[in-house]
């Protein structure tokens, strides 16, 4: 049993170890180790395209996850107050947003946006007084929208589940004590659902940051980190990619660690 478990962990980590190892390669190749060097870290951080792809990815992931967390939470709260029929429609749509494969979401968004642009852009040109009418196109907006769709559904599901398991007596008590709904929400409901909102935000961020297939279709001329990596696989990977991947891994590990420590401190304080 133990041997099996160890080999599964080895299986999970061998490729990651390889990625990290080759980030310290002196040679140009990501597949032939010719000596130790940290030069690729410098090159990676000096590569404007790689860095801007990373920035794009972070910006897109942060924006889509934030919008998803806000709108998703609002939806989860609002859906509880809807008539059953409307709520069922929402449930079905959110479920669809989650189970429809990413490749289909990417294609459908592309098809719809291209169709919409083909109507809107000529119209904009016609009514625009100046020489350079604004033209809609694929880009950050379309990626954020397409990622946000999945992320929002994710957040809504998670927050709804949390709401469902909440004790309501305290809410009732709060209203009995003449708290306004807003105060009740702020002091009673929000603190209880906040962990699930944060969990949803994190999942949404991770999803967006790692997504390739949706962005592949709707990114237009913009490059995200996965798109950049995919393109590098085609043009020949240099250890720059390994260096960036390693940096991202280390950053996320630090983040997890910090979160753990913060949570532990909080728990000790609250005496749990």
């Amino acid at each position: 049993m133990r041997a099996f478990i160890s080999s599964v962990y080895l299986f999970l980590y061998a490729p990651i170890a390889l990625v990290v190892l080759f980030s310290f390669n002196a040679g140009r190749s990501a597949s032939e180790f010719t000596g130790f060097s940290t030069a690729w870290y410098g090159k990676a951080l000096g590569n404007t395209f790689l860095v801007s792809a990373l920035q794009n990815s972070l910006m897109i992931a942060f924006t889509s996850a934030t919008l998803a967390a806000v709108f998703g939470t609002m939806a989860a709260l609002g859906m509880e107050r809807l008539a059953p029929r409307n709520r069922a429609i929402f449930d079905a749509l959110f479920a669809a947003a989650i189970v429809v494969p990413g490749v289909v979401i990417g294609i459908a968004t592309l098809v719809a946006l291209v169709a919409v642009f083909s109507f809107v852009n000529p119209a904009l040109s016609a009514i625009w007084p100046g020489d350079q009418p604004p033209q809609l196109g694929l880009g950050y907006g379309s990626i954020i929208a397409a990622h946000g769709l999945f992320s929002m559904a994710l957040v809504t599901m998670i927050v709804k589940a949390r709401i469902a398991s909440l004790g309501r007596d305290i809410v009732e008590a709060s209203s009995d004590l003449y708290a306004t709904p807003l105060t009740t929400f702020r002091l009673i409901v929000l603190p209880q659902i906040l962990p699930s909102i944060l969990a949803g935000f994190l999942l949404a961020f991770t999803f967006s940051f790692d997504d390739f297939i949706i962005a592949f279709f709707v990114a237009g001329s913009k490059t995200t980190l996965p798109i950049y990596v995919f393109a590098s696989i085609r043009r020949g990977v240099t250890p720059e990619i390994n260096a960036i991947a390693t940096l991202v891994l280390v950053a996320s590990l630090l983040l997890i660690l910090t979160a753990r420590i913060l949570m532990r401190e909080k728990k000790t304080k609250s005496g749990e």
Binding site: T48, G220, S221, T223, R235
Partner: protein, 386 residues
């Protein structure tokens, strides 16, 4: 030094001195010297030639980044580093495995490319679809149509207008690892037979309808460019029979050939030359039953965001002393007699790069109809998903 000055300075003092020395030595033409140093601009202004004053090829509004769409292993990375050093514009290289893929991207909109590398037979379609603009040759002083070989360059001109200028020509042949494959392979017929026997599980075909379907057609005795349904049906039958024996369907076969994961592949001249240079056991042969002869061009997409940088890089690449480095690294034969003169003898004498005219006779240029023919597109898609 202000930002304005830095961005508008066409050249540094060191570079100017350097270029001046080269002009003196006679290794560059006067025209190139004027172009590279920006003195052409001064000359032009002094000569009161309006229109050139704001010419982006000389002025500094080309930003700091641009993007080029090209083929795998098609450029010397040092070229772009040198271009960045000279102009401050960093070049992002996007690699594609087929003209269809480039066309699909352009049709879907928003590619972000400022320069791309289409093959001869696609240019008329790009023009028809309005995806590329006529080139402003005044921004390309380094390009000289009179030194180009018309046979390879005429498809860049549509209705008397130049839409694309040539990069290099080449052929599509067979690369094979002679330590692994002992059967002689001299034709596409041999290629497909060996792929199913001695090279079982080790042969690669392109992810590209023109060459993969074309060479299958050739091996059956049909035209490389056929769009006849019955001939295509035969080619499909062959390809589907071969598919289980293939190593991969991929236009970037160099890594697999170098790692000897693959032993034989459809191969473009430049890749053949690069592979053979580094691994002499990899040979490059042309099918004696036919195949493709092609020329690649540079064109600027209509949707390009940074046309100024596109023109600047194109003009840079058209300068013979830059082009010659590209050709040596890339291994493809040049279309420009100025470059030919600069190439070392071991390159011009390389039979992979400059084969005998006789071996070129059975080869065909790709035909425009194959790019848009739905029958070929769908055949390729069926073959891949079979």
């Amino acid at each position: 030094m202000t930002k304005w000055y830095r961005e508008n300075a066409p050249i540094t003092a060191e570079q100017l001195a350097d270029e001046l020395m080269r002009l003196k030595r006679g290794s560059v033409t006067r025209r190139h010297f004027l172009g590279v140093t920006g003195l052409g601009l001064a000359t032009a202004v002094l000569a009161r030639q309006p229109g050139l004053f704001n010419s982006p090829a000389f002025a500094g509004d080309r930003g700091t980044q641009m993007s080029i769409a090209t083929w795998p292993n098609n450029h010397d990375p040092a070229t772009f580093e040198a271009f960045q050093a000279a102009t401050g514009v960093a070049v992002e290289v996007n690699v594609f495995g087929s003209n269809e893929e480039m066309l699909a991207k352009l049709q879907a909109g928003g590619t972000g490319w400022d320069l791309f590398v289409p093959t001869n037979y696609t240019i008329s379609t790009y023009v028809k679809l309005g995806l590329i603009d006529e080139l402003d040759l005044s921004k390309l002083p380094n390009y000289d149509a009179s030194t180009e070989t018309a046979r390879f360059t005429n498809e860049g001109v549509v209705d008397g207008k130049t839409y694309a200028v040539p990069k290099n020509w080449g052929t599509t042949g067979i690369a094979l690892n002679s330590t692994k494959i002992k059967t002689p392979v001299t034709s596409w017929k041999d290629f497909f037979e060996v792929a199913m026997t001695e090279a079982d599980g080790r042969a690669m075909v392109h992810d590209y309808q023109l060459t993969t379907i074309g060479n299958a057609l050739v091996s059956l005795g049909y035209s490389f460019n056929s769009t006849k349904p019955d001939e295509l049906a035969k080619a499909e039958e062959l390809l589907i029979k071969v598919k289980p024996h293939l190593y991969a369907i991929n236009s970037d076969y160099q890594p697999s050939m170098r790692a000897t994961d693959a032993w034989m592949t459809m191969c473009w001249t430049n890749d053949g030359a690069q592979l053979n240079r580094d691994m002499p056991e990899i040979q490059f042969v042309l099918g004696k039953d036919g195949g493709e002869i092609w020329s690649d061009f540079y064109a600027i997409p209509k949707s390009a965001a940074n046309k100024a940088a596109g023109y600047a890089l194109l003009n840079y690449l058209m300068a013979p002393e830059n082009a010659v480095k590209e050709h040596i690294a890339n291994g493809a034969p040049t279309t420009d007699s100025r470059v030919m003169k600069l190439l070392p003898a071991d390159v011009t004498g390389n039979k992979i790069v400059y084969p005998d005219e006789a071996s070129l006779t059975p080869l065909e240029f790709g035909a425009a109809v194959t790019l848009t023919d739905p029958g070929r597109a769908e055949l390729m898609a069926r073959f891949k998903s079979a």
